[in-house]
């Protein structure tokens, strides 16, 4: 159904440049940027999760406020580099169910980040005993979501069904339906 859109996107000069340019600054460096963004966003997030779970407990949580710009910078790096990578191979990503698993896990992780942000900003000023166990659960969920998103992202390279809009579908034994396509 979306094939004409995928075909059009794949024919745009940016998409062609991403795929075919011999320049290291097209696909390779944008992929590297995506990984550094991952390190900043998920990495600093995991460091905050560890602190919530009691690691380095003597560091006041309120002191970590200055980490947020780096974390958000990582998020924007990855939104932009991710869109560029998606523009390079829209069919490859959007016809693969694993891609939606990745996006879903990222959405949950970023939603959890909002409550982590609130908790961090309130710092140790609000030692509400009831909130601590629930924040620990949030921290564990956050770590698991990022680990899952990372694994899903890595598996994209091995689970795609169609590379391009005009590619034949690759049969994947773990997919119960016959993928559509030319």
């Amino acid at each position: 159904m979306f094939d004409p859109f995928f075909a059009w996107l794949e024919s745009t000069s940016f998409s062609v440049w991403m795929r075919e340019s011999p320049s290291i600054f097209s696909f390779p460096i944008i992929l590297a940027v995506h990984t550094i963004g991952l390190g900043l966003l998920a990495g600093i997030n995991v460091a905050l999760d560890l602190r919530i779970l009691g690691v380095a407990a003597r560091v006041p949580l309120a002191e970590f406020g200055r980490l947020w710009p780096f974390l958000w910078f990582g998020l924007w790096m990855n939104v932009l580099s991710g869109l560029a990578l998606l523009a390079a191979y829209p069919t490859k990503a959007l016809t693969n169910p694993v891609f939606y698993v990745k996006l879903g896990l990222i959405a949950v992780a970023v939603a959890l980040l909002r409550s982590i942000r609130r908790y961090q900003a309130s710092g140790d000023q609000v030692p509400t005993a009831s909130r601590r166990p629930s924040m620990k659960r949030v921290a564990v969920a956050s770590i698991l979501c990022w680990a899952g998103a990372i694994a899903a992202g890595r598996f994209l390279a091995y689970t795609y069904i169609r590379l391009m809009a005009d590619s034949r579908p690759i049969p994947r034994p773990w997919i119960p339906w016959v993928p559509p396509g030319p």
């Binding site: 290291i24 390190g39 998920a42 990495g43 690691v55 680990a147």
Partner: protein, 186 residues
């Protein structure tokens, strides 16, 4: 091609049980996922530490924040293990890969930086109370570390774009002969 590379290649190829495991279904992507999760743990905790050294979190006591470091070490251990598994499975893809050489060079600098840091100012920094004026040298260690790890990630990601042609990179006959069983096995 140096004799070191030939020796390394031969040694890594000796680890056949690991290679067999890695060639089983889904093993390679799974170990890759673990490698990227280790990356996140290592880079995230080290970034927070380096930003502290760079002066971003001046009121955080170094001794208190140092409790985060075992997790960076854990991330490193995860990645040293998973990374070795790639090397033992496809040694020629790494031993003859310029991106991989550069990655190792940056890893060595990062390691040296850590060694010098612990040998010199760490003890003094650890005894400082939160908010105390720290020696400016501290920032240099943080900057070197952060740049090295960013470089390690970039080079790691570039490995796949600098892959030597399968078994084509070897001039010495020994290396080519070594590759023939693999080509015919495919």
């Amino acid at each position: 091609m140096s004799s070191l590379q030939i020796w390394l290649h031969a040694t890594l190829r000796g680890a056949t049980p690991v290679a067999e495991l890695m060639r089983s279904a889904w093993a390679w992507p799974t170990v890759e996922s673990i490698h990227f999760i280790g990356l996140t743990l290592l880079f995230g905790t080290i970034a927070v530490w380096d930003l502290r050294l760079l002066g971003l979190l001046p009121r955080v006591a170094i001794a208190d924040l140092h409790r985060l470091i075992p997790f960076a070490v854990l991330g490193f251990a995860i990645n040293a293990t998973s990374g070795s598994m790639f090397l033992m499975t496809e040694p020629d893809q790494y031993v003859y890969n310029p991106a991989f050489h550069f990655k190792f060079f940056l890893l060595a600098i990062a390691g040296l930086n850590v060694a010098v840091f612990y040998a010199t100012i760490f003890r003094r920094l650890r005894s400082l109370p939160p908010g105390a004026v720290a020696p400016r040298m501290m920032k240099l260690f943080g900057a070197i570390s952060l740049m090295c790890w960013i470089g390690v990630i970039v080079c790691g990601r570039l490995i796949t774009f600098y892959r030597p042609g399968l078994c084509r990179s070897g001039e010495p006959l020994a290396f080519i002969i070594d590759c023939i069983p693999r080509i015919s096995g495919r």
